[in-house]
Assembly symmetry: C2
Homo-oligomer: 408 residues x 2
């Protein structure tokens, strides 16, 4: 079960002026589920994207990058679940493009003004006819107040829909931000098997939007992991529709950092939601590595902990078998690490120092913290000034069950 994640009916996702969303049940893979989503954007909207670094990136990812590089005015997004259209070669590209052609025709825009996205099983051909057949119904129900349906339409093994909204005043005008995300397995930095869509009705220059999305993704989707697998289809899109009547935000604008930080906060909440809904997750783990020489070594230690199946299963069992954390720190790849100089904390309890268990540590303390559903693992390296924080979840029977059953 998701770990402390807001139920979808309580999400209260706010409409964003200039963004309409419509879904269809297109039977792409399974009957009777929302599996096609169309998003349309008002004229003059700005769009930026960050995509997977997987060399086997999916056909729709290749097209998205291509269309964005052409600097066309993106006016629509098309998402299907049930099939990733990845590992599908030239034929996959043709099918993805075909879906953009048809949606472009239906909306009276160009093919390269449509960004395509797919998520689901890899190495199988996209049933593009089904996707296309679903488009009229999706267009039929396009409306601004459809974010919850949209969040549901992009789910795969997710248990709950994920979304959040913010409102803020920008130069005297009220601005709205709403974002949705999906993903729960194949979650890794650079990035998760995730799709994320964050829209605002503020006006943002293209340069500022691209700066913000990079900043936000490094603080959010690049700081989560469920199983260490990096997907072929990861995509995060930020959209600014310029419908709020606020002045255009550029990087020189005093409101730039305000807006950037709120958008980043939305991205963090969406990223954490993916971990909280991690496949089979019963615990949400925050791993903080402090006082490292550089960010790289902090990340190495944090991910060694966050990827260790031994640690993740111990957390599932609520067993303070904390030696496994020391072992992970030890093999993280810092060659000159002085294990006697570091401290390990669980929550606010000092567990290890001077190369061994802290004299003050009592097993009952660790056992008590292990009962909680949100747990902080904190490593203080005492080698420098860099810190990082990442988020992950535990590893349960249900992870195996979900991933052994996924295609059946």
């Amino acid at each position: 079960m998701p770990v402390k994640l807001t139920a979808p009916e309580a999400l209260s996702l706010l409409p964003v002026r200039g963004v309409q969303l419509g879904f269809a049940k297109a039977y792409v893979r399974k009957p009777n589920r929302k599996d096609v989503l169309v998003i349309t954007l008002a004229e003059g909207s700005r769009v930026a994207g960050v995509f997977t670094k997987n060399r086997f990136c999916a056909a729709p990812v290749i097209l998205c990058k291509d269309f964005l590089a052409q600097k066309t005015d993106i006016r629509a997004l098309l998402v299907n679940t049930g099939c990733a259209n990845a590992g599908t070669g030239e034929d996959g590209l043709n099918r993805a493009e075909q879906s953009c052609v048809v949606l472009g025709n239906l909306l009276n825009i160009n093919t390269n003004q449509v960004l395509p996205f797919s998520t689901g099983v890899i190495l199988e051909p996209l049933p593009v006819d089904k996707v296309i057949a679903g488009l009229p119904a999706a267009i039929e129900n396009l409306k601004e107040d459809n974010w919850l349906n949209a969040a549901e339409a992009i789910m795969t093994t997710d248990i709950v829909a994920k979304g959040t909204s913010r409102r803020l005043m920008l130069g005297g005008k009220q601005v709205t931000i709403t974002g949705i995300s999906k993903g729960s397995g194949m979650i890794h930095p650079n990035m998760a098997t995730m799709l994320g869509y964050i829209a605002t009705d503020a006006a943002i220059s293209q340069d500022a939007l691209e700066s913000i999305i990079q900043y936000a993704v490094n603080k959010s989707f690049n700081c989560i992991t469920v199983d260490g697998d990096t997907s072929t289809n990861d995509s995060l899109i930020m959209m600014a529709t310029n419908q709020a009547g606020s002045a255009e935000i550029t990087e020189k604008n005093t409101d730039f950092t305000t807006l950037r930080d709120v958008l980043t906060d939305v991205a963090i909440e969406l990223a954490q939601a993916i971990v909280r809904d991690g496949e089979g997750a019963t615990k949400f783990m925050t791993v903080t590595v402090e006082a490292g020489k550089n960010e790289t070594e902090c990340r190495k230690v944090a991910y060694a902990i966050a990827h260790s199946p031994l640690i993740k299963t111990a957390f599932f069992a609520s067993d303070p078998n904390l030696g496994r954390i020391l072992a992970a720190i030890g093999y993280a790849g810092i060659d000159d690490l002085d294990v006697n100089a570091l401290q390990l904390y669980l929550g606010d309890v000092l567990v290890a120092e001077n190369g061994g268990r802290a004299a003050s540590y009592r097993e009952e303390q660790g056992a008590a913290i292990m009962q909680e559903s949100d747990i902080l693992v904190r490593v203080v390296l005492n080698r420098g000034k860099e810190n990082i924080t990442i988020w992950t979840c535990d590893f349960s029977y249900d992870y195996v069950k979900i991933n052994a059953d996924y295609r059946s």
Copy 2:
């Protein structure tokens, strides 16, 4: 259940002249199990070791390295299970040394002629009094024909004892090799959470023995993974007792490669046995990466596949969800990888080429191979001439169960 692993009663482990083994039930952690092992070596024996690269290496590993560096004549080995004596700081070193002092006194040898080994839970103090109290009983039953008992005495979460023997003629003299190993979780290159002891009655020079152990470990224990965790306690020891009456083998000797290859073969069998007995394993996977530019990139791809929980759970489910393998190849970290140039085979069936599913591939073929218990995953990168082969196992409910229950 272990995957096609010889039952212990059928192991037929041959005595090696000059090597005596004795065990005790010392109640280190659990009642009524063999948990202390003493091995003695004839005078004039040569010993070499390879140890974990984990920065949090255990106290006994530190002592082993120290004593071997002193080039003393090693005459005894002392192994306990139930406690790793790792993450135990200065106190852990004192306890490990104390066990060597006592065994040295009992055997009338020096402390630094005893190599200590521990395996079990990390971050807990070694109950050295219990280990010491077990020594007289272990010494009492020292004998050459005790390898199976020794293999059992070093088990932790292993389901079956692991060992193998070889005989060969060397310069007209019969030479015997017997090895045992333990380990089933926290298994990773550099090395497994494993202990391995390989003895021969051949005469081998110290230089030749050290060359052989490095060669063998790179072909065996550094080519296996269960869960990607590198232990604090990994140790492989090779011993040559010079009791067979054969001439001393040096690196210049024509029999050098013969003996090296047989010892390596023993190491490979012991390493594979660890994977076959991998925690919760139901399938044994051989991952071969061919035609890479260099060994490093071949290893990256092989381990990306072998570490992926998504792939390992799909194998557990016998589900040919092979797109997950493409995804792993894609995120393995080869930045200039041309995904259209590579081929993926399952067994001898071509699954993917030209960036997508092979035209000839049929789901039934993949499904049939997935039913087998020994499965080959073969990736041909078509970029160069280097190949590597590693071994791993699938990821089952029982992996989670074993590791969630380990301390309780």
